[in-house]
């Protein structure tokens, strides 16, 4: 701890705070969660001159210290808790040169906490373009701080910033204005009651009704006596405080900043005229979505095929090279296919996050929110629900987390509840293999039946989300203050470094987060399929050899019979046949049943499970698809995967809440088991009923 300086990066959204963070830390960064909540915690190490190191935290973007979301709350909790191990020695407030006035509001609030504060004025490369000039010495004097003029795009000013951080002890801790003037008597009373406390800190604790987990409870309760003012009065005071801060900022900037608007060139107006246009706006949005889907399915198929075949040959190779035995079997039938099932998703996930981060970085996402708000509101959603619904096509987990900036609790809850209906990438392997089995290859109007089916499944997913949102909106009786404020940031060319790091980070967290679960499940499944209780399993060879003694079977056929008899009497087989009556009306056998149950952990496990079940004890290296096609329905005869059971399975997966991790995230985001359980029961029964109707109708 000796020489490490704790630095907190704070700033409004869209100020390029993350670019500054990336410029300071490079690849020396890690992303985790704050304990107990799912707010992303980004931290990194920055090497400063003279061997000093800085530990940098990139705090969630916020417009002020008056928190209105969990993410913003993290900022206050850290800044108010001197005992936190991450409590900053120095705060670095990142501002955007074009929105200096608004950005300075947060700056003055942080100054009031008497933490040494450095001001970064970012995007300095746009000053000339916008006709802005700044009197830095004057601003430094008035704001009582040190200023670094930075352009992460041109890589300017970063060394100066590092220098300022190194010498943070020289930065003033004095506030730059006295906000308590808005109600002298009230604040004077506060000061007398708590002489050892910082006035602004007390004021923040009084006015925030959000939960302050880490702040000393006793202190807060003592403060309750001071809530003598009504909520409306407190709010009025907050308004006055905000106005006062802006007055101060306006006075400073009147001298310190000159804007020659005649020199300003405005790309924004021109782009907005097209991108938020009544017709063109929607058309362009639709085109962009098309490109994204095209990329995810077409472009990623090449690397996916490559990964698939690599893992198949790896499995084959280790089977031949390693000494025969149970562990080798576990490796070749459980672990390697399990790992393959994780790695194969990397191309799609990387593409999806590439597009999402480009759309967000460029400022386009806010325009979509603006365009869609009115339409989404009809269904009880918000314009901001578009982002979760789009990212839900990758994975519901980040999508549910992306609902956090929806201000209205009701709109946010509905978005959380319906997001798992959108077709996430985990459904894709299930869809693809079943479609290739049961949908013929013909074409209709130049479009393949198989591609059309896939598209239809996506539409069904979106349709289910929107319709359930509409119903929930009517049914849920939640009164919630609804308001909606979106910043429309300037258009920016996304920085390659930012986009690259986001893609890297998200892919990594998928591989190491979801990946571990999938791997663990495939090990357990393999075990359950390879071991069993009682004589039926352990003496399978004898039983089968005796049973077929009269028939002239080849050695190979005999082995096949033994393997399938063993599987049927393994742990997994016993469980599967126990649940068979429930799924029989849907057209499934016990093997599919096992795959459905195990895929409750994550949908993509379905294919992996069938692969494991069919490959246990099987020696030929036929693909999963061929093995599935060869399965015979034990009661009706004919192929098990026919049109009726295939459609029934597709529909089941379109609606079912088959994802433990999503339920866990919903529980955390709503802090109640009520909503995830409701989701589970509603979605699963809907899936069962629809699949039942489809099978009974089609068979």
């Amino acid at each position: 701890m000796s020489k490490q300086i704790n630095v907190a990066l704070i700033g409004n959204p869209n100020t390029g705070k993350t670019s500054v963070f990336n410029a300071l830390t490079g690849l020396n960064q890690k992303v985790g969660n704050y304990p107990g909540i799912t707010v992303e915690k980004k931290e990194g190490i920055c090497k400063l001159p003279r061997g000093v190191k800085a530990h940098i935290i990139d705090l969630p973007g916020t417009y002020s210290l008056n928190a209105s979301s969990l993410d913003e709350n993290v900022v206050i909790e850290l800044l108010l808790n001197k005992n936190d191990k991450d409590f900053p020695d120095v705060a670095v407030v990142v501002s955007d040169v074009e929105n200096l006035k608004r950005n300075l509001l947060l700056f003055t609030q942080i100054k009031d906490l008497e933490i040494p504060t450095i001001l970064v004025i970012n995007m300095a490369d746009r000053m000339e373009y916008k006709g802005i000039s700044l009197d830095i010495p004057y601003l430094e004097e008035q704001l009582n701080t040190k200023i670094a003029l930075v352009s992460t795009r041109r890589k300017q000013g970063i060394n100066e910033l590092k220098q300022l951080i190194t010498n943070f002890k020289e930065v003033s801790q004095e506030p730059c204005l006295n906000a308590s003037q808005v109600d002298k008597d009230y604040f004077e009373g506060l000061r007398k009651a708590f002489p050892n406390q910082l006035l602004y800190k007390l004021w923040l604790v009084i006015t925030q009704d959000v939960n302050f987990g880490k702040i000393d409870r006793n202190e807060v309760e003592a403060l309750d006596d001071f809530k003598t003012k009504s909520k409306a009065d407190l709010k009025r005071l907050q308004q006055k405080e905000t106005i006062k801060r802006y007055q101060f900022i306006n006075n400073v900037l009147k001298v310190g900043q000159t804007i020659d608007s005649s020199k300003a060139k405005d790309l924004r107006t021109k782009l907005d005229r097209i991108l938020t246009h009544k017709v063109w706006g929607y058309l362009i949005f639709f085109m962009i979505l098309l490109v994204i889907f095209q990329a995810i399915y077409d472009w990623s198929s090449v690397p996916m095929d490559f990964i698939d075949s690599t893992f198949a040959s790896l499995s084959e190779w280790s089977k031949n090279k390693l000494p025969a035995g149970v562990f080798t079997n576990l490796l070749t039938e459980g672990i390697i296919p399990g790992l393959g099932g994780i790695v194969i998703f990397i191309p799609q996930i990387a593409f999806l996050f590439l597009f999402i981060s480009v759309l967000e970085e460029s400022g386009y996402m806010s325009r979509v929110v603006f365009l869609m708000d009115r339409i989404m509101r009809r269904f009880g959603l918000s314009g901001k629900s578009v982002v979760p619904l789009i990212s839900g096509t990758a994975c519901a987990i980040p999508a549910v987390m992306a609902t956090r900036n929806i201000e209205s609790w009701k709109e946010r809850l509905i978005t959380i509840l319906v997001t798992p209906f959108t077709t996430c990438s985990a459904r894709l392997p299930v869809y693809l293999i079943i479609i290739s089995l049961v949908i013929p290859e013909g074409r209709f109007l130049g479009l393949g039946y198989q591609a059309l089916t896939l598209m239809l499944l996506y539409l069904i997913g979106f349709g289910a989300a929107v319709v359930s949102a509409y119903i929930l909106n009517k049914v849920l009786k939640i009164r919630s203050k609804s308001f909606f404020v979106v910043e429309m940031p300037n258009y920016k060319l996304p920085l390659f470094k930012n986009v690259g790091l986001t893609v890297l980070e998200k892919t990594k967290s998928f591989v190491f987060g979801a990946g571990k679960i999938i791997l663990a499940i495939s090990i357990i499944l393999w075990f359950l399929a390879s071991y069993g209780p009682g004589d039926n399993f352990n003496k399978a060879e004898e039983i089968i050899t005796n049973e077929y003694a009269s028939q002239q079977l080849s050695e190979e056929e005999l082995q096949q019979h033994i393997a399938s008899f063993k599987l049927e009497h393994s742990f997994i087989g016993i469980t599967g046949r126990a649940i068979e009556p429930v799924i029989r009306p849907l057209g499934y056998d016990w093997k599919i049943g096992i795959a459905i149950v195990s895929s409750f952990a994550a949908r993509e496990v379905f294919v992996g499970t069938l692969a494991t079940i069919y490959s246990v004890g099987n020696d030929d290296e036929a693909t999963i698809k061929n093995r599935m096609a060869a399965e015979v329905n034990p009661i009706l005869g004919g192929p098990l995967f026919n049109f009726a059971s295939g459609i029934s399975l597709l529909l089941f997966y379109a609606f079912a809440m088959q994802c433990m991790s999503t339920l866990a995230i919903v529980k955390r985001e709503t802090n109640s088991w009520k909503w995830p359980l409701l989701q589970l029961v509603f979605m699963s029964s809907l899936a069962y009923i629809v699949a039942l109707i489809a099978y009974q109708f089609l068979k």
């Binding site: 417009y63 002020s64 008056n66 209105s68 074009e98 929105n99 006035k101 608004r102 509001l105 409306a232 709010k235 009025r236 907050q238 308004q239 905000t242 106005i243 802006y246 924004r268 107006t269 907005d272 005229r273 938020t276 009544k278 806010s366 929110v369 603006f370 365009l371 708000d373 009115r374 314009g383 201000e407 203050k481 609804s482 308001f483 909606f484 404020v485 979106v486 910043e487 429309m488 940031p489 300037n490």
Partner: protein
Amino acid sequence: MRHTLAHLKRGEKATITDVSSIHIPLKLLEMGCLPGNTVELVQLAPFQDPMYLNINGSHLAIRKETAKHILIEKVDE
């Protein structure tokens, strides 16, 4: 007649006169929606809602139901 922000037409400018209604979130004030500031309606989404505003150089979008509570005085060009 009292003018509110909801009455503004596309391209029109006005001065904000009062934001004291409790229906206006603090966040909006913090983003620069304060008395005395100039507001311009940049764009309206279809169905006239939400409204894309430029308040003293700060660009943001709000819904009409919030705009109804912000009092303004139109600026004659």
